[in-house]
């Protein structure tokens, strides 16, 4: 159990954690404002990855351009889903919204299989990203560095957006009390569309990162990471965006370190660890690390 082994796993955990964090922010946003768990959020990750692939191969544009266009497209898809499936449901009980999001997720996955076939495809990554820096036993690829730094930048940009722009303030007001926010002259439909757009754009980025890191995309790639990102959002404190980011890192690190430290026979238990952590958090600290306990109005 050399130190290098530990550091190597920590780096890999951080990179996986930053991907989860970006997706978790999307979950946390939609939950804080609409009390909606959007299971289809994971699948937008897949849409972002495929969109980037077609832009890079189809239109021969560089990866960074594909990133931005994919974010835009995913944002549109997010707004479209909210407008079509979730808006009519507003005000109904939270279970109806949960089921609808599962249904939307099934529709996206199967449309994906029908249009782009289930064959896993190679994800083009520019040469410079895949060369490796070796420090003794520890090896870090540029892709990992890009993932960690880009997600940090995006998270900081996002928190600045939420604190300083008008629509950001409106989003925070809506997450506090959506009814009263309307009285303040906030158009909640516009705020909700922005929330879905932002969350989906970030999910698209994490989709591209996931594809870039592992070089492979297929239509069902989004569901499991989406679910794990929801676990991260709950661990960090559902509803608080910084909580979601923290939860993402905690989950990414614990998943990799648990598999690395426990004897090899247990690496198959990886997904079980994630959900055992979830149930423990829900039991002992349901509001999560940074979340505020939601008092119950008696």
């Amino acid at each position: 159990m050399s130190l290098a082994y530990l550091i190597q796993n920590t780096i890999d955990g951080l990179s996986l954690g930053s991907i989860y964090a970006l997706i978790a922010i999307g979950f946390s946003l939609t939950f804080s404002i609409l009390r909606l768990i959007n299971f289809a959020h994971g699948d937008i990750l897949m849409i972002g990855a495929y969109c980037a692939l077609f832009i890079v191969i189809g239109m021969q544009l560089p990866l960074w351009a594909a990133l931005i266009l994919a974010m835009g497209f995913a944002a549109l898809v997010g707004i479209f889903i909210e407008r079509l499936a979730y808006r009519p449901l507003r005000g109904s009980n939270d279970v109806a919204a949960l089921i609808t999001s599962l249904a939307v997720s099934i529709i996206i996955q199967n449309t994906g299989i029908m249009t782009v076939t289930a064959q896993p495809r190679k994800f083009e990554v520019p040469e410079v990203l895949s060369n490796i820096h070796n420090f003794g036993n520890i090896s870090i690829s540029n892709m990992t560095l890009l993932i960690i730094s880009l997600s940090l930048v995006l998270m900081i940009a996002f928190s600045l957006f939420v604190t300083h722009t008008k629509i950001g303030v409106a989003m925070r007001a809506c997450s506090e009390n959506i009814g009263v926010a309307q009285l303040m002259g906030i158009d909640i439909n516009r705020v909700i569309s922005t929330t879905f757009a932002l969350g989906s754009a970030m999910a698209a980025v994490s989709g591209i990162m996931l594809a870039g890191q592992y070089g492979r995309i297929e239509p069902l790639m989004g569901f499991v990471p989406g679910l794990k990102a929801f676990v991260a959002a709950v661990i960090g404190g559902i509803g608080s965006v910084s909580g979601a980011a923290l939860g993402g890192y905690v989950l990414g690190l614990s998943e990799i370190l648990l598999v690395a430290l426990l004897p090899p026979a247990y690496s198959g238990y990886r997904d079980a660890f994630v959900f055992i952590i979830l149930i423990l958090v829900l039991l002992f600290k349901p509001s999560g690390i940074l979340g505020q306990a939601e008092g119950r109005k008696v």
């Binding site: 064959q119 070796n134 690395a260 690496s267």
Partner: protein
């Protein structure tokens, strides 16, 4: 009451569809998991099957009758697969069924065909014990996992001079578990009880192997060989991540590696000492193989995605050949003819069913990845 009428009208309409699909040609049933996790393996098999049927019909069909492939989607769900089998037998009245690359689904549909005395030929499932377990109407087009695992172990010990090995297997797929078990059994027989340095596991769909790779790197006793028992979706990224960690020990595996993805996703890493055993080399110069690849490319605009495409293709020709020899489309006659198949020249090698076994005696090809191409190394007939 008005509100409830609409759904019933819809159902009645759909029932009508069923009756509409009756036509007289020889009907061959096909059940593949075209959606869900298995779709990347099964979709090419169906393509191969349909391609063969198209070619046979173009050449005048069999016994003067056209072949019609009735294909239903198993949806990677055993209940749906058994429904599909029953529908093909009882409603569509097929004379033979081809299906599945995974033994768990073949074992769900096989017994139903066996009970109805309809021959069931699995195109890609390689569990050697299936035919004895299901019955005499169950045939396998591919060789058993044991055959290719033994060839892999022999090749590693003799040709690569490996004394110790590290095994990484996908613990969530029965194909990979059996393959690894048979390999270890034969490798230990050759190189002694503790020839396996470490056995590690992962789960289908995993994308991050850093924990496993780091554990391999940290081994004090460096293994001479890495046996990676994985399916086509994961093989590329595992090889890439192992080579990225600077481990260049030779890698060997079964036909799970037989996919363009190994090269695409494996990248530069795959070119370093990566071997695998498979049914046939799709890039070999053999005329039969070249004709198949050419026909597949023109029909489906891409090269065959994996060996399962070739296996689907061979299965259809196998059935057609049996019908021709039996001179009748009657299911039990087909079964008898199939059992007597001898030296049938197919894309994935020559197929012979030995006396009381429905696991074909086939040659196993050993391939190596050389600068982005599969290069034929040798063919071993066990």
């Amino acid at each position: 009451m008005k509100k409830f009428l609409v759904p019933f009208m819809l159902i009645a309409l759909l029932f009508a569809f069923n009756a509409f699909a009756e036509t007289p040609p020889i009907k061959i049933g096909a059940i593949f998991n075209l959606t869900g996790d298995q779709s990347s393996l099964d979709a090419p098999s169906l393509n191969g099957l349909n391609l063969a049927a198209k070619e046979i019909n173009a050449a005048g069909g069999v016994l003067g009758r056209k072949i019609q492939v009735v294909s239903l989607d198993g949806k990677t769900d055993q209940a749906v697969s058994t429904n599909a089998a029953l529908k093909l037998i009882n409603v569509e009245k097929v004379v033979a069924i081809a299906g599945f690359s995974d033994s768990n689904y073949a074992l769900a549909a096989g017994p139903i065909a066996q009970k109805a005395k309809i021959p069931f030929i699995t195109t890609g499932a390689t569990l050697p014990t299936m035919p004895d377990q299901v019955g005499d109407y169950f045939f396998m087009t591919p060789y058993g996992d044991n055959t290719q695992a033994y060839v892999g172990a022999e090749f590693a010990s003799k040709d690569l001079k490996a004394k110790t090995a590290y095994v990484l297997k996908d613990a969530a797929m029965d194909f990979t578990i059996n393959l690894a078990a048979y390999f270890e059994e034969r490798f230990k027989k050759i190189n002694g009880k503790d020839a396996i340095v470490l056995e590690d596991t992962f789960k289908t769909g995993d994308q991050d192997f850093s924990a496993q790779v780091n554990r391999l790197k940290a081994l004090t006793k460096k293994p001479d060989l890495l046996y990676i028992s994985s399916g086509p979706s994961e093989c590329g990224i595992i090889v890439k991540q192992i080579r990225a960690a600077g481990i260049n020990t030779p890698v060997i595996s079964g036909d799970g590696f037989d996919t363009p993805l190994l090269i695409e996703l494996g990248g530069k890493g795959a070119n370093i000492d990566t071997y695998f055993t498979t049914h046939a080399s799709l890039t070999s110069e053999e005329p039969k193989v070249k004709k198949f690849v050419q026909a597949y490319k023109s029909q489906f605009k891409t090269a065959p995605e994996n060996a399962f495409a070739a296996l689907g293709y061979d299965t259809m020709y196998l059935i057609a050949d049996a019908i021709k020899r039996a001179k009748s489309a009657n299911p039990s006659a087909i079964r008898i003819a199939l059992a007597k198949t001898k030296d049938f020249k197919a894309v994935t090698g020559t197929i012979t069913y030995p006396a009381n076994s429905r696991v074909p005696l086939k040659s196993v090809a050993v391939l190596k990845v050389v600068d982005g191409q599969f290069k034929f190394v040798k063919s071993v007939t066990p």
